[in-house]
Point group: C2
Amino acid sequence: MTTPQKGNLNLVPFVSVDNMMKLILSIGVEEMIAGIAAQIESDFKRWESFDKTARVASHSKEGVIELMPTSDGEVYGFKYVNGHPKNTKEGLQTVTAFGLLADVGTGYPLLFTEMTILTALRTAAMSAVAAKYLAPKDAKIMAMIGNGAQCEFQALAFKAICGIDTVRLYDIDPVATDKAVFNLKDSGLTVIRTNSHQECVSGADIITTCTADKQCATILTDNMVGAGQHINAIGGDCPGKTELHKDILLRSDIFVEYPPQTRVEGEIQQLKEDHPVKELWKVIAGIEQGRTSDTQITLFDSVGFAIEDFSALRYLYSAIKGTEFFDNLDMLADPDEPRDLYGMVRRAAKTGAVA
Amino acid sequence: MTTPQKGNLNLVPFVSVDNMMKLILSIGVEEMIAGIAAQIESDFKRWESFDKTARVASHSKEGVIELMPTSDGEVYGFKYVNGHPKNTKEGLQTVTAFGLLADVGTGYPLLFTEMTILTALRTAAMSAVAAKYLAPKDAKIMAMIGNGAQCEFQALAFKAICGIDTVRLYDIDPVATDKAVFNLKDSGLTVIRTNSHQECVSGADIITTCTADKQCATILTDNMVGAGQHINAIGGDCPGKTELHKDILLRSDIFVEYPPQTRVEGEIQQLKEDHPVKELWKVIAGIEQGRTSDTQITLFDSVGFAIEDFSALRYLYSAIKGTEFFDNLDMLADPDEPRDLYGMVRRAAKTGAVA
């Protein structure tokens, strides 16, 4: 990371929603997810070099607002993210997010960006990285229960990174499935719409659950999961919000991002506090084994962790260089003499800054 | 607080450094500090309605990056702030900051703003509010040790809110004092430069210490403080950084913002954990007494708390309405159909968003 250059100390690169979309289309969705996935793998291998804290959450009856900070000692990153399931009914996003990278040595921000779209990409990248280590060999078919905002990004990530060629879709709201079928029609994936949870998972190598209700739901029951499948459970991500029947958890080998956070927020909140789980970073780093047999059920109990956002921010910081897909934001006071903050304000009048 | 209106859901008002300066000059420095002070008093009176957590700090050998969140159940605010004492030598600010207000009901941001300048204003406003309740009656003379970035804002706050008419300045670097003398020459204050700590505090009703070294320093020794004075100690604000000799603390009635934070970060980190302190909000709310005698030494051991930033953000949110001192930032993804995030990205190509 380079530090800000003298002469433009006040300016911080900002990626707006519009510029994020332009950047994604210029790079390609699958290519960008693959780039973020590579950064996640690289950062997970050096997991121990990161400051790790559970997210700082502010809960209300309508939802939650969270700050997710982390640092590797050289670069600091954080994400602001909300989760308000009722928002959809009001025409708002359930989840919106923005994020920041800063230089640890000076505390100066390096990058400010929308992260609603970027989070969807990093979540898909993370899921596909986990499946790369955990899914059965030569997996081709993925069932997707929940066809909301995450669905297409997940489908494309698994195509790009795991070689999935077929997705089977189901949502309790057929309009959501309509949308996903339409959006994926030119993706190169075979897209099959199904009429029930049961039909959806039939014959799948991988099952992805990404529903959004803020409640303990049972999207998958025990009889629906067969030997050898990999489950990518991304919808259960806060206290009181789960998707899988407990019996599935008891039959699975469970892999998580950061145990102290997942035990509170993930599917395993249904289990005893000492139920054995494996840390995904150890699998990626070669310290522990991922899938060990063709009959084992593997479960990635994903809740989203700050290091994944850090990886996505790092990727973005590199990706925008030399492009026009960012603006410079006048975010930081930069007096000629650092101690003369008041003089800077006072002189703004004389330099014609005030009309 | 009104929630964002349909049709511009993606846009968040942003106050740049340039616009902050224009706004301050259009309102007036003293008037704006007084406005923030009124908001702080009002919010401190309803202290118990706030979510309070100590700041979330990421320490490194060069400094610290902190997130300071709070919420009153309707509005959520947080500030990002760094503290890097070595920055000044590199032509950078020791402290830079930005902040955000969001609607608790939807999680959507309402305001994003620079806070380097705004923090100087709110710190000055907070100090003056504390002195309004704690300083001796008819205080006219303030000694200021440390003439850096905070100095002039403090001087003007005490003039506007406490009726101070004279400031006595001292800094180990005479260039800093030169700057403050120059900046305050048309302020209406009598400005006296002095040649030592001892000379500076002589005859003062209020002593403000605002030095910036990241170390335990002794800016004030016991013999320099006399009966009846009020000490406004704002420079000691992190572990290992203090300004006052311990003996002064033992002779003073100590008032703090939020005890769990001040015991770690304030001057009182030098005292036992159970040393009695009073919470400033209780004085403002009329629950506890502030100054009770002419001979008492009162000390405001200020470290800065999230609610003060919240108050400043609330003030700013009102102050920019109807002005042109903000931009609209395209920060939030706003698909026509909330679940169709991918479709929004995909269609950006067709709408000509990509050149």
